[in-house]
Symmetry: C2
Subunit: 491 residues, 2 copies
């Protein structure tokens, strides 16, 4: 496509300006957990969309915790693509950074020739700015975009995207005009392998509390002298006994009645994709290296002593888990304070898969507690969202594969229920893939970054060769994003 | 006894001076957990003993963590009594006190006419100074003491009396000359009922840790992303499952093999004492009011729904318990951080009774863990000491009953295995009552104080009438301590 070639040249010729625009967006803090700079960042993006000729640009506030930026761009094209983005970032601990996290300094970091270091560099203000740069380059070099766009940039992804379901309901009529959803992020890992983002597992995060006040036994308002265990019941022991009923002795099987009933994955097609791949993709079983994962996580073995990549991938992609994320109660300081605590609390994140239902799982936990005599144990839902079951052959995803193949980049498609550990970052795919929109979705592009949520978060500005091929710099990120639009327009 | 009458008169006539001496001792901080003022306080007591004519006075340091003050007073008498005391105190949070904790201010506090407020007022520098006042009054009014004394004042009771066993071994030849041990403290509770201190339960304080590094499974060095529970074992769930094997479903029975094997209490005599008392004492079943204890502790019921005072007392005095004092692991902050922790730790204090052996119990816990497949779970002993089985008819105790009866004070004798909740303060009775000394011991006197370990700790300086009779002030404390020595000399 000659038009696309002109766009690529424009990107090459204006790369320094584009880097500066990426830096400017990252330099504006937007920490959704503290609120620092969030509104200012939203205003900056709103102005940017207006400068690019978008209409109906608005900060959908104050209905939502932080504004969701909505905007439309009418190219007079046949198809319309929703561009999802998140402009909020995680908090920073500046003392742990090599450079100030909101300076967005560009430095050499072997093996990469140049990286940009800053909070949000990869997750995901860097790729977001890259997309807007690509957008502008298409306008400048080709005159008009091949697709219409609807922008949805949320500011509370790091707080669990809690307003997104309501936003989708509120904007349903406008959003349903779209033919697909594209999440512009970088797909290449440290080896240069691209891993597109498709669906996601479901997450339910709960808190359990056993409390003497609710139980009616043992201390009810405060911890009492530990010697009184001789005559009093213990809410703390009750919590242990209650938790113990939830999982098997090895901690790996959920013992709640009906927990596994509705699981429909992996399908034969899921397994075929794992083993054989699709189009020119490299099958997951070929690139997944258990030894590297062990080394990264500092673990000696996987559960059930699984060793074959396919067996481990099956668990990672298609199994459900009930984790104990945290527990606390009583005296947790140094020494030997004797205390009979009146309550213990534990936190649990649950991962689930099609077609387990989040509300049904919650009810099953409650029913299990009740049935085992723990009616008094408090069960609180802290967060959660459904899985997103995405057809990996959908037109947005196919456009992305087109681009990987156009650039000769190796890629691996994980089945629809991908796990953030394999294909990050997490995003609320379900709000677009599920009811009522049921849109085809995909996320990805060339490029690489890392240390999301950690100090020295980075995005590669100038790339290098790696195990599976060339890791692209910012120019590749922008070119591939532009290319996705063209490929999608033609499908 | 006319001699004793002269002593009482001397106390009455010099009460103001005596109060000032009590204040002076309390004004000198001696916080064994921080070290503040401990050495200065030890020096002050050493000088006081020298002023009173003691010999062989020494600070047994630096062999012990804080000095143990040793001193002898030879009255040329037939019998010798060890006077045990603790001169260290708990830390203070000054902002919670009505008066500076080391000012030792004397104020009116209804229903008491006057109390002295200060750290150590009742636990136990107030009673210790009162004893030394009584000692001097005997010298002044009667010329000589009726018994020889050996002083043992330790400075680390609030740190678990860790040096006392070694001290007893080191000083065994000198200590074994004694005929008994007397711990000068105040026995009257808020109702005016006196509860002498005799033996004590045993305490074993342990920590249990399940850690992926020791287990060889799951995360080993740091917590990893909670989504990885799908493929990794969980040390946290393992800790829950391990803990769950330790106690029955109601949390009240210890499920460790042989745990109850060596228990020999209550004996028929223990139960008779509970039900009938001894001499003029009021039986425990008559004065123990479950409803008042419920109200104090804010509990609605006791374990097994026990309601009869005797049933509750039997558990409180003669049962063994395995408490869960504290537990922590993973993410304990706000929100929904997803974490698969690499370790969980819990703390447990165990109360045990004759003739369960502390080392044997520790071994049984280890054996239980091993037998149930938890060889990797770390078991650490943080503290502990044996029970002290004391004959309630021993001559020191009988002398104390003599005194209660002389002053017409109602008293209740709890069987030998008394619980600190019933007869405080705790003290290392076992080092005197057990091998190798096996001495008769008792603690107590008239007088009352409260809020040990808490802000506004106090001792009553000028008493008042209460439910079971008159609560004595400092004069009564000192007179009764002097009287104990005379009664003991005559037995």
């Amino acid at each position: 496509m000659e038009e696309l070639e002109r766009v690529y040249r424009h990107i090459d010729e204006h790369l320094d300006e584009h880097i500066e625009r990426v830096r400017k967006l990252i330099q504006q803090p937007s920490i959704s957990q503290t609120g620092e700079g969030v509104i200012e960042c939203a205003e900056m993006l709103k102005d940017w969309l207006l400068d690019l000729g978008c209409s109906h640009v608005e900060l959908a506030e104050p209905e939502y915790f932080w504004p969701i930026i909505y905007g439309e761009y009418n190219a007079g094209a046949e198809k319309t693509l929703i561009i999802y983005g998140m402009y909020d970032v995680q908090p920073v601990e500046p003392e742990l950074w090599d450079y100030p996290p909101f300076e967005a300094r560009v430095v050499e970091r072997p093996p990469f020739k140049r990286v940009l270091i800053g909070r949000g560099a990869i997750n995901t203000k860097g790729p977001m700015a890259a997309f807007l740069n690509a957008f502008e380059s298409i306008q400048q070099a080709a005159g008009e975009l091949p697709v219409n766009l609807i922008f949805v940039f949320e500011g509370e992804e790091e707080r669990g995207s809690v307003s997104m379901p309501k936003f989708v309901r509120d904007y349903e009529q406008r959003l349903k005009r779209a033919d697909g959803v594209y999440f512009p992020i970088c797909s290449q890992d440290r080896n240069g392998l691209a891993r597109p983002s498709l669906g996601s597992e479901g997450i339910l995060y709960i808190e359990l509390e056993t409390n003497g006040a609710l139980w009616g036994r043992g201390p009810t308002q405060f911890g009492v002298h530990g010697g009184l265990k001789r005559i009093l019941d213990s809410p703390a022991w009750r919590h242990i006994k209650m938790l113990s009923t939830l999982v098997s002795d090895d901690g790996n099987k959920v013992e709640i009645e009906g927990w596994y009933d509705d699981i429909v994955v992996p399908t034969e097609e899921d397994l075929r994709l794992l083993r054989e791949g699709y189009r020119k993709s490299t099958p997951a079983v070929e690139v997944f290296d258990p030894e590297i994962l062990k080394e990264t996580l500092k673990v000696k073995c996987f559960k059930y002593d699984l060793e074959k990549p396919e067996d481990i991938l099956r668990e990672m992609l298609f199994s459900t888990s009930f984790n104990l994320d945290g527990i606390w109660g009583g005296w947790t300081g140094p020494g030997t304070k004797t205390l009979l605590p009146h309550k213990v609390v534990s936190k649990h994140n649950i991962r689930f898969v099609p077609k387990q239902d989040i509300d049904d799982l919650f009810r099953k936990i409650r029913a299990h507690l009740d049935k085992h005599g723990y009616k008094d144990v408090a069960l609180r839902k802290l967060a959660g969202y459904p899985w997103a079951l995405v057809d990996y052959k959908n037109p947005v995803a196919e456009s992305l594969y087109d681009v990987f193949e156009e650039f000769g980049v190796r890629y691996t498609i994980y089945p629809p229920v991908a796990n953030p550990v394999l294909t990050s970052p997490a995003w609320p795919a379900y709000v677009f893939a599920g009811e009522p929109l049921k849109l085809p979705i995909a996320g990805g592009a060339l490029g690489h970054g890392g240390l999301a949520h950690s100090p020295n978060e980075y995005i590669v500005i100038e790339g290098c060769e790696a195990k599976y091929g060339y890791i692209h710099g910012l120019d590749g990120v922008e070119k591939s994003m532009a290319s996705v639009l063209y490929h999608f327009a033609e499908r």
